[in-house]
């Protein structure tokens, strides 16, 4: 079963028997760098072998190898990414790519903002629910519940928003800002660990991020 199709054209697949390469796109990138230890990456969903669980999960991967491993153009669909460093092909870290996946007019909102909106709607729903034919969907309740537990961290989400806007000048995207707000990290290292896409700008961001986190710490509600 050699690599079919366009990708693996330069690659001599002989002797590399272990590959149950159902995803040939992975095979295509082994430009001779093959250690023969291509673990069978079945499908793309979230299957992974137990023998991939190497103790070296540093969480940060050194992506020196060709990034062509991700069959789907860098979306980081490799489930093994960021967690396991498989011997021959450390996949790139899983990055949050919000903006590409949603239409342009989508606005990321923090959990605290969502909470305000949903609570407003819930008040109206109370009036509406007297009408028996209207039923409130379960996902609304669950969404509200979730927003309550996570959104209660900050009392004043407008100041939080203002503070995080300053990070935008340093090139942090909306999606990343929302993740930072929702997670409520305590140290800058935490931010870089949890949002790998910021690592590229680590030096630039370190100082402003520390300032921002200090400000946020003052606003945190000890719920």
């Amino acid at each position: 079963m050699s690599d079919k199709g366009g990708k693996g054209s330069s690659l001599p697949p002989k002797g590399i028997k272990s590959s149950l390469k159902s995803t040939t796109s992975n095979g295509g990138s082994f430009k001779g760098k093959e250690d023969g230890s291509t673990k069978s990456k079945k499908g793309r969903k979230v299957q992974f072998d137990s023998d991939k669980v190497s103790p070296k999960s540093s969480g940060k991967t050194e992506s020196l190898f060709s990034k062509g491993n991700t069959g789907k153009g860098g979306k980081g669909d490799n489930t093994a990414s960021t967690v396991k460093k498989s011997p021959s092909k450390p996949p790139p870290p899983l990055e949050l790519k919000v903006e590409q996946e949603l239409p342009k007019n989508a606005k990321c909102i923090m959990d605290a903002e969502a909470l305000q909106i949903l609570q407003g709607i819930q008040d109206q729903m109370v009036i509406l629910s007297e009408d028996p034919s209207i039923k409130i969907p379960a996902s609304f309740d669950r969404g509200l519940q979730y927003a309550k537990t996570t959104g209660n961290r900050y009392t004043d989400y407008q100041s939080v928003r203002r503070i995080l806007e300053t990070l935008k000048e340093h090139g942090v995207t909306e999606g990343e800002i929302c993740v930072i707000a929702n997670v409520g990290p305590e140290t800058a290292d935490e931010v870089f660990a949890l949002v790998p896409s910021l690592k590229g700008k680590k030096e630039k961001l370190m100082e402003p991020l520390k300032g921002v986190l200090d400000e946020l710490a003052k606003l945190k509600q000890l719920a």
Binding site: T79, L94, P103, N105, I109, A193
Partner: protein
């Protein structure tokens, strides 16, 4: 995470709803049709927040139904790969545990649970570290990272991990 987004939909209305309350009927129908649904692109529509615009109605040939294009704003919840979320554990078994964050179900396989945590069965099955200091059981809160999502007709299902730095059980005053 939550998003505030403008979506568009073509609503069909039967003539019996026409009249003074046409707009209200249209909005009510929209809410009934859309709230609570989910799609792969937008995630769960949690709530509609407002109507942006209702276009001119077009009568369908052959029937009396009229189609209105409606633009509306809504709050959606969509999980993303690479996102960090806090979820509440709903079930623990030896394959891993299930957790819920908003309307979304997340499964964390035992391969993605740190190796020092082991499954303990019992009437309250849980995962515990070897020294017993950290425990994951039903109703625990955990911070996890989403690594994969799957959408079907009515719900979104995710796979998560807690094997990274700063992930795992949340003990409120202390560390994550």
């Amino acid at each position: 995470m939550f998003f505030h987004i403008i979506l568009e939909r073509n609503m069909q209305l039967h003539p019996r709803h026409f009249g003074r309350n046409l707009r209200d009927n249209l909005v009510a129908k929209l809410m009934k049709d859309v709230e609570g649904t989910c799609s792969g692109r937008h995630g769960f529509v949690v709530a509609i927040t407002g109507i942006e615009n209702i276009g001119k109605g077009l009568i369908r040939d052959g029937t009396g139904f009229v189609t209105f294009p409606v633009k509306y704003q809504c709050v959606v919840f969509r999980p993303f790969k690479g996102e960090i979320l806090e979820a509440v554990v709903t079930m623990v078994n030896k394959m891993g545990f299930f957790a819920e964050a908003g309307p979304v179900q997340i499964f964390v396989s035992n391969h993605l649970i740190p190796d020092d945590m082991e499954f303990q069965s019992g009437d309250m099955p849980n995962y515990t570290t070897s020294d017993g200091s950290v425990k994951i059981q039903k109703d625990s809160e955990v911070r996890l990272k989403i690594i994969g999502t799957r959408v079907d007709a009515t719900e979104i299902f995710c796979i998560g991990t807690i094997k990274d730095d700063f992930l795992g059980v949340i003990n409120d005053p202390a560390t994550a």
